[in-house]
Amino acid sequence: MRYHTPTSFADAAVIAAAATGTLRFLAGGTDVLVQMRAGVVQPDDLIDLKHIPGVDEIEQTPDGGWKIGIAVPGIVLGAHDALVRDWPGVVEGMNLVGSTQVQGRATLAGNLCNGSPAADSVPGLIAAGATVTVTGPNGSREVPVEQVPAGPGRTNLAKGEVVSRITLPPRGKNGGDCYLRFIPRTEMDIAVVGCAVSLRLDGDRIVEARVALGAVAPTVILSDAAAKAIIGTTLDDAALAALTKAAQAEAKPISDKRGTKEFRIEVAGVLARRAAKIAYDRAKGLTK
């Protein structure tokens, strides 16, 4: 295995494009090292991205959005008060990943690019309308997060492409978001279902909403139908019932050892309802 430590994304992309065997990028390594250990993946080339300047930084943009370096670990996101105030749902998703020790290493970019349908930070990023900068040998492009996952363990990144930054839009006024997952334990488990909701209010009425569901399809999904069910409403009982139904209709899960198909569909509705209520209260400034 060749271990590379490029100092720019352009160099990383060139090394990646030239690689002929199995290639992995190394951010926090909490997926890569487990897969190497298990023998599932034996990279011929491993490109450590942590020597690239700026990858460990969180920066607010002039318009009020956020640029997050691809090597910022969960524990640093959780300790960033201003970011948590703007996007509590994004941060709480990432902070659910693993233990304290895993939080010390694990990143948003790694969680996204590992391609798990149950990745805990991805629904929050999608609901927030986050984008990633993808850098390849021929330059960079901006991609909405929901377009990155292609299926379990696969992404739509082309050969030689690397995620070089994550961008959260400006939160703006009267907005709130939330991520909830269901696991049978209280810690250290993989989501049976996850759901994130981000919304904006005008008075009591929801004027914008995005709803994302995890672990109920081959990728995390953005549900327009679930968002439509609550836009224009005050999140009254009728809206919550419509949201439940829409989220359940969108869920196309499989049955496995962690939950049956029927159970996952049921829980998708429950979590959508609860996450929407929390996001709504946060948008009103009633809770943090």
Partner: protein
Amino acid sequence: MSKIHVSTIVNGDPVEFLANPRETLLDALRNQLDLTGTKEGCGTGDCGACSVVVDGTLVCSCLMLAAEANGKKVETIEGMAGEELHPLQRKFIEHAALQCGYCTPGILVAAKALLERNPDPTDTEVRYWLAGNLCRCTGYDKIIRAVQDAAAEMRGAA
């Protein structure tokens, strides 16, 4: 396979060694540096027996390559006691917060990292912080009590 030159500071001492690209920090600590206090329980990030602190952050040394430690400061269980045992170590003995002891170095390193951030945690905070440290023997209760007792003593001393 060409080896990678790694230069780090372990428990305050500068250390240099040659690592295989695939070698974990855990394996390097145990096999190259003879620091066998750090244990391997699972090798996959689940048990916390391999916990060490790298540049101030608590991590699993089994989930980090030795090559990634280049230029960093690593703290292991061997650096915990000075002339005398650390209060956490003493309280673990007093409270019998260990049986086989395999999980203990990792739990001590993790608990020390917690008390440095939060000198007065609630029981729930201790339990969540240590959720990635598995113990098959004690049932955890004595561990929580030992951590809290050490925290109280350290607050008193400060």
